[in-house]
């Protein structure tokens, strides 16, 4: 979700195999560089492998071009990598959030074969995506400061995953501003 010169990216913490919960501290939001984060929902093994591949590509880019990747460029790269596997895809939907040139927030999501969807306010993915769309739509306001953004994102996330038996067990929220990153674990219903 986009705020004023900042963005928030959040996920739940459950890792499960259909009805069985395997872990309650699973990390789904990963850092690419200080101002670029990616959240990967869907099949856990694909999420981890895809993350490793993207970090590999980004590190090579950093070495060759001696600069960090811009969020828009990174989104195009993810889209290309996903489409390479058009007929045997990675079962993940990424959510990409970063601060671009002049620290303008940038967010986008895509489906598992790389169809990019840019937005100016918020993007969602995962099993609770329909509830999340509803919750974000009603709670979102433009130009929120980091503290208010944190409140809004946590409320929207908790409200949506509470209605979804396959998601929950707390929340993990990152608030990223041009100067710092705040990482917080949100306590929620543990069921």
């Amino acid at each position: 979700m986009v705020g004023k010169n900042c963005f928030a990216i959040a996920s739940d913490r459950r890792l499960g195999v259909q009805l069985q919960t395997i872990a309650t501290d699973f990390q789904r939001v990963f850092k690419i560089h200080d101002k670029l984060y990616i959240g990967l929902s869907g099949l856990a093994t694909d999420a981890q492998t895809l993350y490793q591949r993207l970090v590999f590509r980004h590190k090579l880019y950093q070495l060759r071009e001696e600069r960090d990747m811009k969020p828009e460029t990174f989104a195009s790269l993810v889209s290309a990598i996903l489409y390479e596997r058009r007929f045997g895809p990675y079962f993940c939907q990424p959510v990409i959030a970063g601060l671009g040139e002049n620290d303008e927030p940038f967010i986008c999501t895509m489906d598992c074969i790389g169809a990019k969807e840019l937005a100016k306010d918020f993007v969602v993915s995962g099993t609770s995506s329909e509830s999340l769309y509803g919750a974000c739509e009603s709670m979102y306001k433009p130009n929120m400061e980091p503290e208010e953004l944190f409140e809004t994102v946590s409320q929207a996330l908790m409200a949506s995953v509470d209605r979804d038996c396959l998601a929950g067990w707390g929340g993990h929220v990152f608030i990223v501003t041009p100067t710092e990153v705040q990482e917080r674990v949100v306590k929620g219903r543990m069921d």
Binding site: R64, E65, K70, E72, T73, S76, L77, A80
Partner: protein
């Protein structure tokens, strides 16, 4: 020469540590038509002689300066057909980069990849090195840039450089005339004067080619009438 028994295979070093084919390629470049480039404070200019074998040749069909991307251009000294192959490969690489990142390729990256292609042809079987040196001029987020790429695949960034026939006189002339804060129009005049120094015969708007790139980041080859205006200013 003691090296000559080692000149049959490209991929064999001579005892003096040289790859003789690359030396020969540089000689081929050195007997090509003069070309030069100058990096100004607000742009880059590249220029070359365009001596045609006969007055019957249609000079508008000969294009020695080519654009690789909208903001990067290139000129050469040496063998024309080798140049065309390199231009084709570089354009493809620039487009592949754009397709992957939806961002225009930075000049240094394109130079690096072109140089890698040229180096490949010094280490593979059954091929020969390219008989051209390139001057690549571009303008990107790091400002105006000018690079020279040799048949060996080594590349250098230059403030001003010349290649081909008459290279030492041209470089001396450029050394004297180059200033750090030169404007692009001054650089174009200097380029014309440098070409004039070594030209056998009368220079005119039909027998030189000039390419420029301004802060608007659009590489363009000057038309004969535009060249004529600059020539008149010089005289």
């Amino acid at each position: 020469m003691g090296d000559s028994q080692y000149s049959f295979s490209l991929t064999t070093f001579s005892p003096s540590g040289k790859l003789v084919q690359i030396e020969h390629a540089l000689t081929a470049v050195g007997s090509g038509q003069t070309s030069l480039g100058i990096k100004a404070a607000n742009g880059v200019v590249i220029a070359t002689e365009k001596k045609l074998p006969s007055i019957l040749v249609d000079e508008t069909s000969v294009q020695k300066i080519q654009a690789l991307t909208p903001n990067i251009g290139v000129v050469y000294s040496g063998m024309g057909p080798d140049f065309r192959v390199l231009v084709r490969k570089s354009r493809k690489q620039a487009q592949q980069y754009f397709r992957l990142y939806k961002e225009h390729i930075p000049v240094t990256q394109l130079v690096r990849e072109t140089a890698a292609v040229m180096q490949e042809f010094t280490q593979s079987g059954g091929v020969r090195p390219f008989g051209v040196s390139l001057l690549i001029a571009g303008y990107d987020d790091n400002g105006p840039q000018l690079y020279q790429v040799d048949p060996s695949g080594s590349y250098f960034s230059w403030k001003a450089s010349a290649m081909g026939k008459n290279v030492s006189n041209a470089k001396t002339f450029l050394e004297k005339r180059y200033t750090e804060d030169m404007e692009l129009d001054d650089a174009i005049h200097t380029a014309i004067l440098t070409l004039k120094e070594g030209y056998e015969g009368q220079i005119s708007s039909n027998n030189i080619e000039i390419g420029i790139i301004r802060p608007d980041r659009e590489f363009k080859v000057l038309s004969p009438s535009e060249i004529k205006d600059f020539l008149e200013e010089v005289e």
